[in-house]
């Protein structure tokens, strides 16, 4: 530890820390463009210059390591003038097209200019003309007039993906970021670049011109697209009263978590968000002879409980089947275990998940579902059903999720389901299963509920709803209601009223979740 002084604040900080990190740790932000904690300091934007007592020149906060007794000034007149100078330089050659720039509202250049005083431009010369629409990857557009040459993109592609897709061409005022000919950035982490860019130089066609950043509500969540459990922000549009929006989610962004995903997410997780707003189940429906009847959950629950009870009473509980999936949270899988396996003593409990796909050696795992590890830790068996056998041995089937559709053909499913007396489907999305079952019960998605997930490395991460949910009750709630209705002998669970409470209860029984 060394003792330093930042703006008269006396601090004890670790050896080897840079001034910028030490200051940030003390709640003193130091403006910067090129510095990014994921990379070695670059020192090229010159925005983070600070004054150190006894030194004639200003020094870089991003690369200067603290020393015992160092006295650092981050807001002296000299420092503020230097910051203004950098901003004046950058803005001299900047197109100032904020009104049409997607970065507006979350642009460092804008933010700092606002902070350092809205000075008038002295630049009377002609700005350099540069290309404003250079495609550099499937989704990314580079605007060279907005680029401030911080080279964060270049360093990301050299140090993180190691693909070296971009370079800095030319020199001096003519320096520019470029890909080689039409060799677009071709790796499934490219989407990070639009986020990483401190200004509006790299924008994402997925987001470009769709809305303004300040209209978006930004909430934390966990990416469910594989078992890594990357931390994300879900940016959604609450809409205006005059235009109720069908589309809520406009963007998924990476959220820093050094234990899981550092600062990044893969493009698979970033761009596959349309499922949140599209094809959703909206009502509880009883399907009878080609006629749909809308039900309340109370009524559906009674029907379901009666079916279960009668089979149990007839000592035919072996003819009840349950198909789970690992998009269910730890809490939900735990309750499923308590209700179906331990409570009712059911044996035919299966799991059907999205099929595995090729992962990569960075974040994306083969398991394209977020909670397989949770399933294991809860202690539920990971059995895949044999559809033919299932059809013959089942009178009541409870299906969670729609992943059967990906595993079996609709013909296969139909011929099996025709043989099964009653089928309840708990699903977030419409699918081919809808017409094959008797009752459809809408459920929320991970983005819309709370709970926890266990990632591939056994890290349990809790999350809260990032979006409002008005479409259905979360599965954990449905399972508690069912347990109550069936009077399953685990009364304490009936009192559980939140995922947090369930997780605490789990921790008492399963050391892993403690």
């Amino acid at each position: 530890m060394v003792k330093i002084f930042i703006d008269d604040k006396e601090l004890e900080v670790s050896n080897g820390l840079t001034i910028l990190r030490a200051a940030e740790g003390a709640g003193i932000p130091i403006p910067h463009f090129c510095y990014h904690p994921a990379f070695a300091p670059e020192g090229s934007c010159r925005m983070c210059l600070v004054e150190i007592s006894g030194l004639p020149k200003l020094e870089l906060a991003c690369s200067t390591v603290v020393r015992e007794g160092m006295k650092i000034l981050t807001a002296s007149e000299k420092v503020i003038e230097a910051r203004k100078a950098v901003l004046e330089f950058l803005l001299a050659e900047h197109p100032l097209d904020c009104p049409i720039c997607d970065k507006a509202g979350e642009c460092k250049l804008q933010d700092y200019f606002e902070e350092y005083g809205f000075f008038a431009s002295r630049f009377k010369e002609a700005k350099e003309k540069r290309e404003k629409k250079v495609q550099i990857s499937k989704n990314l557009i580079l605007d060279r007039e907005r680029c401030i040459l911080c080279t964060r993109c270049l360093r990301f592609l050299s140090e993180i993906t190691k693909t070296q897709d971009v370079g800095v061409l030319n020199r001096g005022i003519h320096s520019e970021i470029a890909v080689y000919e039409s060799n677009f950035i071709d790796n499934h982490y490219a989407g990070n670049l639009a986020e990483l860019c401190p200004v509006g130089a790299i924008t994402d066609t997925d987001f470009r011109f769709k809305t303004r950043a300040w209209f978006l509500v930004k909430k934390e969540s966990i990416c469910p697209m594989c078992s890594r459990g990357c931390n994300i922000f879900i940016d959604s549009h609450p809409g205006f009263a005059r235009t109720p929006l069908a589309q809520r989610v406009y963007r998924i962004r990476a959220r820093e978590n050094q234990d899981i995903n550092s600062f990044w997410i893969c493009d698979f997780g970033r761009y596959h968000y349309s499922y949140i707003d599209q094809g959703r189940q909206e009502r509880i429906v009883l399907k009878k002879e080609a006629k749909d009847t809308e039900l309340s959950w109370e009524k559906a629950l009674i029907i379901l409980a009666e079916k279960v009870k009668s089979l149990v009473y007839l000592k035919k509980k072996s003819r009840i089947g349950v198909i789970l999936n690992t998009w269910l949270t730890n809490e939900e899988l735990y309750l499923a275990d308590k209700v179906f396996k331990k409570g009712l003593g059911l044996e035919n409990i299966y799991v059907v998940d999205p099929p595995s796909e090729k992962g990569d050696d960075f974040l994306l795992t083969e398991e394209r579902t977020p909670n397989r590890r949770g399933l294991k830790e809860v202690g539920l068996p990971d059995l895949t059903p044999d559809l033919g056998k299932l059809a013959l041995q089942t009178d009541l089937l409870l299906i969670f999720g729609t992943f059967l559709v990906g595993r079996f053909s609709v013909t296969e499913l139909k011929s099996a389901f025709d043989k099964i007396g009653t089928k309840f489907l708990f699903a977030a999305h419409k699918s081919a299963l809808d017409s094959l079952v008797d009752v459809v019960i809408p459920t929320p998605l991970i983005a819309e509920k709370g709970g926890s997930l266990t990632n591939v490395n056994g890290k349990v991460q809790s999350f809260s709803p990032a979006l409002d949910n008005s479409l259905g009750l979360p599965e954990w709630k449905l399972l508690i209601d069912l347990a109550k209705e069936l009077k399953i002998n685990h009364k304490p669970f009936w009192q559980l009223s939140s995922p947090q409470a369930i997780l605490e209860e789990m921790g008492r029984g399963i050391p892993f979740f403690k």
């Binding site: 001299a92 040459l149 320096s175």
Partner: protein, 415 residues
């Protein structure tokens, strides 16, 4: 008045041939250093000689060598800075083309002293013929057992590679030179780490200017005391002053460090050309702040020039006459640095280009009344705030021109 160490045999025909060079006592210093001295002794001698870097910064060479770790698992490298891009400078070209073996001797002794087995001579791309001459000299030295494996049969190996640049002034900055040698654009590196610990290919590296190394053989042969006496106590030896511009006899003049600037111009170089009147002098290459005609009675050594608000730099003296509008000088300076900025850091990339745009506008007759103030303010915003010394190299002469010749410049403003 000439006290020659480096250029004393330049008059000889075919001095660049090893045969002629040996006849003049060539490679005696290498023999002495490798056969009779320990590396630490050589280092001490060079330190004592106060041999300061001749490239521009004037850092003591012995101290620089001493920064390289003795014990390391990594190879160590020597890079000879022969990029010589500083406008007004041409002395290294003379050394390399007239006396390449003198440089090689310096390279061998420095390498032996620091424990280096691989040296690169980074020479500016335009000097193709000079590079060829160096290659020939290396081949000759190798054939005579002064380079290659087991030099002088003492078990010391050294390979020297000539590496040609390709047109970028910034590669004379030592870390940009390293980047360039590694096959990249010449973007200077952040310091620290310094090249002595992390340099070429991430290994400990010494980088010395041609003239600096060419002084080493004489120091070894004659001793540090002798060398110091040739110059000043804190700044030993001679300097090769390259005089150009409006003088009668432009050329190189090897003179003791500390020689009076007026003497260099009016005696060594024969005074003003065609009876013209002196207006100003750039005393140390284009990056040195300008001196007015009445400011040239000063000793040409590092410290005296700093005191006079300029710098000795590469000791390239550019002489400007009264008839040359100062705007022409400002234009040349801003054009040059704008062209040579690597583009990496903000103030240099945009600031110098901005100044250059203003200067061009003034030159086209569109100058406005606050333009000189604007240039001064922009240059102040570049000074001391860039990643490498190029920012200062541009800002300091620009500031000096604007401040010392403000009236003349403002006379050029039309609006």
């Amino acid at each position: 008045m000439e006290e020659k160490i480096l250029t004393k045999d330049f008059g000889l025909k075919n001095l660049f041939k090893i045969k002629v060079y040996l006849q003049q006592g060539g490679y005696k210093a290498v023999k002495k250093a490798l056969e009779q001295m320990r590396p630490a002794e050589i280092l001490d001698e060079v330190k004592k000689a106060n041999l300061r870097g001749r490239g521009g910064a004037g850092f003591p060479a012995g101290v620089k060598w001493g920064f390289v770790p003795q014990k390391t698992d990594k190879p160590k490298y020597l890079c000879v800075n022969a990029d010589e891009g500083e406008p007004g400078t041409f002395k290294d070209r003379y050394i390399m083309s007239h006396n390449p073996h003198l440089l090689l001797e310096g390279v061998i002794i420095a390498s032996f002293a620091v424990g280096i087995h691989s040296a690169f001579i980074y020479i500016r791309g335009e000097y193709e013929a000079v590079a060829d001459r160096l290659e020939e000299a290396i081949a000759e030295a190798k054939a005579d057992g002064f380079l290659g494996k087991n030099i002088l049969e003492i078990g010391f190996d050294l390979e020297v590679v000539v590496h040609r640049g390709a047109g970028a002034y910034i590669c004379g900055e030592e870390t940009a030179l390293l980047e360039s040698l590694e096959g990249k654009s010449g973007h200077p590196r952040l310091k620290p780490p310094f090249p002595a610990s992390i340099g070429l290919f991430q290994c400990p590296t010494v980088i010395n200017n041609v003239e600096t190394l060419a002084n080493v053989p004489a120091i070894i042969l004659n001793g540090a005391d002798w060398f110091v006496k040739k110059g000043l106590p804190k700044d030993g030896g001679t300097r090769i002053f390259g005089v150009s511009g409006m003088v009668k006899n432009p050329g190189i003049y090897e003179l003791p460090i500390g020689t009076n600037l007026r003497k260099i111009i009016f005696e060594a170089a024969g005074g003003m050309k065609d009876g013209k009147t002196l207006k100003a002098v750039i005393p140390g290459g284009m990056s040195a702040p300008i001196l007015k005609a009445d400011e040239i009675d000063l000793a040409m050594d590092f410290d005296s020039l700093v005191e006079a608000g300029s710098m000795l730099g590469s000791a390239a003296v550019i002489v400007i006459d009264q008839e040359t509008p100062i705007l022409e000088v400002l234009k040349a300076v801003s054009k040059f640095y704008s062209h040579e900025s690597c583009g990496q850091c903000t103030p240099c990339r945009i600031g110098i280009s901005w100044i250059n745009k203003i200067v061009r506008r003034i030159a086209s007759g569109q100058g406005e009344k606050d333009d000189v103030d604007a240039i001064i303010c922009l240059a102040e915003n570049i000074k001391g705030k860039t990643l490498c010394p190029l920012g200062d190299a541009a800002a300091l002469p620009i500031l000096s021109i604007c401040r010392k010749f403000r009236q003349e410049l403002e006379g050029q403003l039309s609006r």
